[in-house]
């Protein structure tokens, strides 16, 4: 099985490199077949080669590379590239129909687990804990306490926004009003009225034609990935679990929630709201978080299959929840100071 896997990875790498070589020979700027990150593309290709049912997609992608290769004007390059293409084609055709074994384990996810990471990956990888949470379940408090206990950095929405804002301002030397106003539901004083035409044009120019929310998401994704290469941290929300998974950066993902009634009571106490308004606020915020997560990840927010650990904070309280998560990742933490 390992030999098969190696063979598939080797073929996928060669095909990816061939696509890059074709694009280089053409000198085109219109885009190539595999435009994603190298590792991701190779992994996806390997998955296609392993999955017998998806051979039509593999064939189709091979055809696209072939189409491009056939337009190489330089004769010598054409012959060389086509020889490689034919060789890869033959080797792929010679692969058995299915290499995968029937197992419950999602190999990609396992590779990202910290528990597995400890055994398999170098010590250079950082501990990153991504916490998703429903409003009012004390998820942010748990995240903060966990970071404190593990002595690592903590990034919540506000901190994240300000870091990103500072970076963007440094980048283009222009003050930026983006902060929590990008996510008005997180801002207690959202801006009133619609943007004017000049503002729309300015944003269109500033964000390369993208919606501001999308541009911010892409920038935040870059920021999360860059930080993940430098430090250990706990990050709240921001679809960080999926962003890191897509970039094959080891992390652990946790989702924290609590019964609706308890969350309402907590919001009533912390925000000084009556029951009706607290309930409405919770539903509204949960709905927005859910749609945000679904839009940028294609996954269902809060669905246990998307996380390594799901936790009902009402069963443990803040302190014990922190202990539980820390125990799961097998980190020694200092006992909490006695009040």
């Amino acid at each position: 099985m390992d030999q098969n896997r190696e063979k598939i990875m080797e073929l996928a790498t060669r095909l990816y490199d061939l696509d890059a070589e074709v694009y280089r020979c053409l000198g085109s700027s219109l885009g190539r077949v595999y435009t994603g990150r190298r590792d991701d593309c190779i992994e996806s290709l390997a998955a296609l080669m392993s999955g017998g049912r998806q051979t039509y997609m593999l064939r189709s992608e091979l055809a696209l590379v072939g189409n491009m290769a056939r337009t190489i004007p330089d004769k010598a390059s054409y012959v060389r590239v086509m020889a490689q293409y034919d060789q890869i084609l033959k080797e792929i055709q010679a692969l058995p129909d299915t290499f995968g074994k029937v197992d419950i384990v999602d190999k990609d996810r396992v590779q990202l687990n910290w528990i597995d990471l400890k055994n398999r990956f170098s010590e250079n990888d950082h501990l990153i804990i991504c916490i998703g949470r429903t409003q009012g379940c004390a998820g942010t408090d748990i995240g903060f306490a966990l970071a404190d206990a593990l002595k690592i950095n903590f990034y919540d929405t506000e901190i994240f926004s300000s870091v990103r804002k500072r970076l963007e301002s440094e980048q283009d030397n222009a003050p930026d009003s983006i902060g929590s106003d990008v996510y008005p539901f997180l801002n207690p004083n959202p801006p009133q009225g619609h943007p004017t035409l000049p503002q729309l044009m300015a944003n269109f120019n500033r964000y390369h034609g993208l919606l501001r929310e999308d541009a911010v998401f892409f920038n935040e994704s870059d920021l999360i990935c860059n930080m993940a290469k430098k430090e250990d941290f706990v990050v709240m929300g921001r679809c960080a679990d999926v962003v890191l998974a897509n970039n094959r950066i080891p992390h652990i993902s946790v989702f924290i929630t609590a019964p609706f009634e308890l969350r309402v009571q907590r919001i009533m106490e912390t925000h000084g709201l009556d029951r009706k308004r607290a309930s409405r606020l919770l539903r509204q915020l949960d709905r927005r978080r859910s749609s945000y997560y679904h839009f940028y990840t294609g996954r269902k927010w809060g669905d246990p299959v998307n996380y390594d650990l799901c936790l009902n904070s009402a069963c443990y309280g803040i302190e014990k929840s922190v202990e539980l998560i820390a125990r799961m990742i097998n980190q020694q933490i200092d006992p909490p100071a006695q009040a």
Binding site: G27, S29, L30, G36, T71, G209, L211, F218
Partner: protein, 476 residues
């Protein structure tokens, strides 16, 4: 495979039923037997099926297939109608129809290939909708082919970061390569023919509400389809490079816009010059170069010369790096040139049957005209189809409406014929020349375009309901 066979059978039936009067008797009133349409159907099926089942074989042998199906029409036609008639029909379509068609396409292909967009605009649903809307309106100014060739590469480029982009090219074909051309005679050749037969130049602007309606509906549908694809791309971790602040867009080879305008001018001249006395002989026929019994008119020669000159100048004055960045190759134009040579030759019997039987179809209502013109324009050249139904409408003896050289045609009926001919070219890859060009260029640049039948499925699912709405709102 089973689906392909069923669709194949369906397409064959549709084509053979395109000419109902002839289908009833088996022989057209022009003396063209119905079975002579088989090579046309065969060629279309080859285009549809071979790239699916034997792609590499088709890539190398499509020229031979075109020759085979063409001979399968020319030789039997020589037996039934005489060698002279067969040679005349073949020469007529190659010289007077195909030559000007392919030279125009070649010119636009060359000039637009010398214009490239540089910058960091990012292809997102919103930007794509804006570009599709802009291109649709541009189609009426520089023609569907011109707008398609001009816009296709920039659109591919800004979407290069994405994985799922075929839907963008499909809607590009719907809107820019077809529907957008309905506002002026420059937009699409059928309208130019109408202009030459007395329809005022700016009359087509009356189609603006229909265009806006179709644009709005299609762009609304497109936005939601593309948004889903965009979400999936993001969910997979794809993201554009927006690391540089601000959006900088630069057009390289911008002087080629002037050449593009010259080509548009050449097309307009080809429509205007034949009406001038200097270009007509004593009998009113077009003056020109006689090749056998066929005449290549001076106006066509001027058009061809001007376009070829412009293409040459475009190449001479543009840096080769622009073409390299554009991934400019001859494959797309070569493919279209080969396939459409066969299509033009083999569709002759169907056109002859249509010309002789068009008036016997009993079409008297705008809705009928819209669908009949459109259904035939989906597979046949829309220019002769338009002319047949315009002539048919003109011969119905209406007293009120638009006065043309072929008779008085009610405005609603003329609108229906124009829309049918222009809009429904989007139904298939062969319905309009730019469709196939866009497909070929997309195929060459890493976009997985749907097969012939799958594209038809898209048009059936999306265009058909829109055209039904058009019928209810504008042609009933």
């Amino acid at each position: 495979m089973k689906k392909t066979v069923c669709l194949t059978a369906g397409l064959l039936t549709t084509l053979l039923c395109c000419t109902p009067a002839a289908a009833a008797t088996g022989v057209g009133t022009s003396g063209v037997p119905l079975w002579l349409c088989i090579p046309f159907a065969g060629l279309l099926l080859s285009i549809a099926v071979f790239p699916l089942v034997k792609p590499e074989w088709w890539d190398k042998n499509k020229g031979k297939a075109v020759i085979f199906w063409s001979l399968l029409f020319v030789v039997p036609f020589a037996f039934t109608n005489g060698i002279g008639e067969s040679a005349t029909v073949t020469l007529e379509c190659l010289i007077n129809d195909y030559l000007t068609f392919i030279v125009l396409l070649f010119g636009l292909f060359c000039v637009s290939g010398n214009i490239t967009l540089e910058g960091d605009l990012v292809g997102s649903p919103r930007v794509n909708v804006l570009i599709l809307a802009l291109g649709t309106l541009l189609s009426s100014c520089i023609g569907t082919t011109g707008a398609s060739m001009l816009m296709v590469r920039p659109l591919i480029k800004i979407n290069s970061w994405r994985k799922r982009k075929s839907q963008t090219m499909i809607f590009f074909i719907f809107l820019i390569s077809n529907i957008g051309g309905c506002l002026t005679p420059m937009g699409d050749p059928p309208l130019l023919m109408g202009f030459m037969r007395g329809v005022p130049f700016f009359w087509s602007l009356r189609l603006l509400p229909i265009l806006l309606f179709n644009m709005t509906v299609l762009l609304f549908i497109y936005y939601h389809i593309d948004r889903r694809a965009y979400m999936k791309d993001i969910a997979e971790g794809r993201k554009p490079d927006i690391s540089k602040p601000g959006t900088h867009v630069r057009i390289c080879g911008a002087h080629n816009f002037f050449f593009l305008l010259l080509i548009v001018l050449a097309v307009i001249l080809s429509g205007v010059l034949p009406t001038l006395p200097a270009f007509q002989d004593a009998s009113g026929a077009a003056r020109g170069l006689h090749i056998g019994s066929v005449t290549l008119s001076f106006s066509s020669m001027i058009e061809i010369s001007l376009i070829l000159l412009v293409a040459w100048l475009s190449f001479r004055t543009t840096d080769v790096t622009v073409r390299t960045k554009n991934h400019f190759t001859w494959s797309a134009i070569a493919e279209v040139a080969v396939l459409f040579a066969g299509i033009f030759i083999t569709m002759q019997p169907a056109l002859m049957l249509l010309k002789t039987s068009g008036g016997e179809l009993g079409l008297t209502h705008p809705a009928q005209m819209f669908w009949a013109t459109g259904a035939l324009s989906s597979f046949l050249d829309n220019t002769p189809t338009y002319l047949v139904f315009l002539t048919t409408a003109g011969s119905l003896g209406f007293a009120q409406g638009m006065v043309t050289t072929v008779g008085t045609v009610p405005v609603k009926m003329l609108t229906a014929i124009s829309c049918g001919a222009v809009f429904m070219g989007a139904s298939t890859y062969i319905g309009n020349a730019p469709n196939f060009m866009v497909k070929s260029i997309s195929d060459e640049n890493g976009i997985r375009m749907p097969s012939f039948f799958r594209y038809m499925l898209w048009s059936i699912c999306i265009l058909l309901p829109v055209f039904l709405l058009d019928t209810l709102l504008f042609f009933m």
